[in-house]
């Protein structure tokens, strides 16, 4: 598949730069998390990581789509935060956020396994 090889080479560079720029911005700006965001940011980060790994897997599968990536990224973050918010309102915030982290962790693991199979054929 020519397109797959070609796109892998091109697609990986700029997002990696984006990631580095984001990290650098976080390091240099030293922002403080607003209080109302503090319970949701960790979950949102894990959800975004899940989306990232999903996108990476799709890339290796040769079926990456930027729109899908965008939507899945945003919806993952929003849904995860929503679940935690709902759990906080219901008084089971701790348990529910643990559940969300477990589910996202399992997905990250399965995605990582798919990526590993693509890269190492193992």
């Amino acid at each position: 598949m020519v397109t797959s090889d070609y796109s892998m080479g091109e697609y990986n560079v700029i997002p990696v730069f984006g990631l580095l720029i984001g990290i650098a911005a976080g390091l240099f700006l030293e922002p403080t998390v607003p209080v109302y965001l503090q319970p949701y940011l960790p979950i949102a980060v894990v959800a975004a990581l899940d989306a990232l790994f999903g996108g990476l897997r799709a890339l290796l599968d040769g079926m990456f789509d930027d729109k899908v990536f965008l939507v899945s990224f945003l919806s993952n973050v929003v849904v995860a935060a929503l679940i935690v918010f709902l759990g906080d309102q219901l008084g089971v915030g701790t348990q529910l956020s643990t559940g969300v982290v477990v589910v996202l962790g399992i997905r990250i693991f399965s995605n990582a396994a798919a990526i590993r199979r693509h890269l190492f054929k193992a």
Binding site: Y11, A48, G54
Partner: protein, 265 residues
């Protein structure tokens, strides 16, 4: 050329796969300008992914910093309340302990204070009792009385009357010819003069009395009193008020044989 043209995959992204994936996207004019420099399909997806990755990296670092900065920042309200409760309980316990220790300290301090006060009082008592019982020499304002015999003998009873009247007038320490008067002092008649507490004494009798001179003199010189009786029987008396009378004689009080202190109330 692009993955976008592969419409047959519903589970494109494991994260999420909306059904609109297969539909061709409407061209965006804003992106078209960016595409001028780069390959059209790659640029948009790349920049989109880059932006999302930047957001992720930013959030990741922020969260990491937050977690490292403050150990309580990541905790939720119920956990914080529990920790606060623990801290409050602990500080309460410590405060109670501190109060108990302060009380103990106060008790010890007041204990040593009251002990010191008791010792001071005991020392004061020793001085007072020592003077009153004749165990200690004394000095102070008082009277010097001299009784000289006339033709008639002065009996022990008359001298004892003098002693009694002095005591009644509030004399605190009395000495007769070098003999300290105490509660058990006695006078008996003898061939030559009198015997006071087993010691023979003869006239003239010199009394040293410590007490209020203004009270003692009128009391002793009262008409019909002890002094008057002595003068009517031929004796001669002189009474002198003094600002300083010294009594050097002492008497060691005997241990009571039968009486014991009553400590009960």
């Amino acid at each position: 050329m692009s993955k976008h043209e592969e419409p047959d995959d519903a589970a494109a992204s494991p994260a999420d796969a909306p059904s609109t994936e297969t539909a061709p996207r409407p061209p965006m004019t804003a992106w078209r300008r960016v595409r001028g420099a780069w390959r059209p399909r790659a640029t948009r997806a790349q920049i989109l992914a880059a932006i999302l990755c930047a957001v992720l990296g930013f959030a990741l670092v922020v969260q990491l910093r937050q977690t490292q900065q403050d150990e309580f920042a990541g905790l939720r309200q119920s956990d914080l309340v529990r920790i606060l409760d623990d801290v409050n309980r602990r500080s309460d316990a410590l405060e109670r302990e501190a109060a108990a220790l302060r009380e103990t300290e106060f008790e010890l301090q007041s204990g040593s204070d009251s002990q010191r006060a008791a010792i001071e009082l005991a020392e004061q008592n020793v001085a007072v009792q020592g003077i009153l019982s004749g165990r200690l020499p004394a000095e102070g304002p008082g009277l010097e009385i001299t009784i000289v015999e006339g033709t008639k003998r002065i009996t022990a009873a008359r001298l004892f009357n003098v002693l009694e009247e002095l005591r009644n007038a509030g004399a605190e320490a009395i000495d007769v010819n070098g003999i300290r008067m105490v509660t058990s002092s006695y006078f008996t008649d003898a061939d030559q003069g009198v015997v006071i507490d087993g010691i023979p004494v003869s006239a003239p009798y010199r009394w040293s009395v410590i007490g209020d001179p203004q009270t003692l003199e009128p009391a002793i010189a009262i008409p019909g009193g002890a002094m008057a009786t002595i003068t009517t029987n031929g004796g001669r008396t002189t009474i002198q008020q003094k600002t300083l009378v010294e009594i050097r004689s002492v008497r060691e009080p005997a241990e009571p044989k039968y009486a014991t202190p009553d400590v009960g109330d």
